[in-house]
Symmetry: C2
Subunit: 338 residues, 2 copies
Amino acid sequence: MQRKAKATLADVARLAGVSTATVSRALSRPDLLQQDTLERVSSAVSRLNYMPGGAARALASGRTLTIGVVVPTLDHAIFARAIQAMQTELAGNGYQLLVSAHDYSLALEAAAVRAMLARGVDALMVVGTDHLDETWSLLIQAPVPVLLSWSFDDRLPSIGFDNERAGHMIADHLLDLGHKRFGMISGFTHTNDRARMRVAGVRAALAARGLELGAGDVVETGFSLAGGRAALTELMARAAPPTAIIGGNDLLAVGAILEAHATGLRVPQDVSIVGIDDLEIASHITPPLTTVHLPTTELGRAAAAQLLARVKGAEQAHRLEMPIGLVVRRSTAAPQKN
Amino acid sequence: MQRKAKATLADVARLAGVSTATVSRALSRPDLLQQDTLERVSSAVSRLNYMPGGAARALASGRTLTIGVVVPTLDHAIFARAIQAMQTELAGNGYQLLVSAHDYSLALEAAAVRAMLARGVDALMVVGTDHLDETWSLLIQAPVPVLLSWSFDDRLPSIGFDNERAGHMIADHLLDLGHKRFGMISGFTHTNDRARMRVAGVRAALAARGLELGAGDVVETGFSLAGGRAALTELMARAAPPTAIIGGNDLLAVGAILEAHATGLRVPQDVSIVGIDDLEIASHITPPLTTVHLPTTELGRAAAAQLLARVKGAEQAHRLEMPIGLVVRRSTAAPQKN
DNA sequence: CTGTTACTTGCAAGCGCTTACATTCAGGCT
DNA sequence: AGCCTGAATGTAAGCGCTTGCAAGTAACAG
């Protein structure tokens, strides 16, 4: 690692025998220059191995060509995938992605948002509606476009899924099958409106048919296969065990299926299990998991496109809802008569 | 989104009745100031809702408080996890993480590295040893510390795993069990030295016992459960099917197990299956997967610590190898006599 | 009472680049 | 021939912050 003194615009200008302004233009608006001038500059640039300094550029132009995203965690396929899609979309437009994860800590999230805004991003995306007041005011007063994702909130332009409907949809499927006793395994709902909305959706669907999802019928657990497994055990240990179990997300549902395998419970004969997300594994596990498909890659791509448009000043829909749909596979069946 | 004119250092200085230098110090070296001056500044800061501008700060100080990481993809638990760990470690030290993924395209990787260096990062981390010459020279001449991860290369400080040994280790386990006919499912090795080294390790282990892993015995496939499933089918369709299948990584191995379930093959009675990585699912699937544990979270944390240290000018080990270890679970057994 | 020392704070010179505005020059027109 | 126009460059004023150095001040020793 030999740290050379970096060449500056002025060095290039001197070598090429032009002004710094010309070099600057050669780099950002090459169409404005005459062919041979451009060539002289280019050769000077490569001879000096010149690389423009982002800081100076940002300071002078007011743009950083960087877009920030604050997510709960990267260690979760749906966020990872959406971010991967954003990244691809942005890179194609000359933008970089600045990512920050806070592991579901609202305080860390506030710090991350503050850091991004301070560090300078041309636009910012956050996930969900659960934020500290401090975060909300930073977001609302931000000097750059801000996009809320995964959920919706009138205070900010949003792009997301109707999580409540997802819950409603999957519960309806089970109800249609004839199930009456339900158990739900949810991620922690405390600082996670997506999880909360899904539970609410399930609850609403049951209520519409005169059934109740009691507080005791939903067990909240950490986002992991192990959590799903433990929750299944807990739910099935009840006096009147549920005939259908709704995983707030696929990972939890898969964990439940795995536990069922391990304990000899048959799915769906003994218990139907469903999830929400439609991760890759949902279609590969035995039995394939009935779930609700969320187009996360598309969400990422659309979010990036929208952010890019807003940065350029284009008006965009204040609310963009991505389509979701039930995917019936083989982890669900009518409850056994007994 | 009301874009106010941002307050500047000078505004704060004026309101607080001090010089800009003092305000600057109040923000970065508060210990240098007198108590009441500090308070006056702080109150002015909050009254104006002042937020320092990263660009100007970076330009003037030469530091961006940002560290860049270029990975193949985020959509893979091991990278996601390592990055999550780095992020946590860095945030605790006031640094931000700039992440870029190139989806295994060396050209995009070069562009990402260039963009990061241009945008300005205080240090940079890349994955693996397979890079374009252009990328290598950018890396080697970078004006900031660069760290190579997951693998090792003398040209750059490295922190990683001995992937060859991982392959050797898992093959030895199978050999010790008495297996003689092997099949391997690997990710694409073309631009992925980790995958290549693992195959090489397996090959070396077999060779040491007089066995050969022919080119035809390893099928390369995309990184997905579906890829693992298809590969298993392909391998088992051979005239003399292998008694042991080595997944170049856990995802592929899990895919293979899933396919075995789906087609009625018993694991490990009919075929032993192993992986490398030790993802969460490895221990939860039935049967639990025998694999090689790679401490990716620790890798991320250690990488972040090392990067931080180098940024501060501290000398660090040129090569840091993270410990790996065989985890024997129940997807392996002695081959059936036949 | 004065010279030191140790703190605080202010001054002002940049950091490397962008960009509004000015300048120059070659044609094209009248 | 004189004027206008537009293209190609140059001039130079910052962008908002950090920081080496200077200046001012209070406490303290001699």
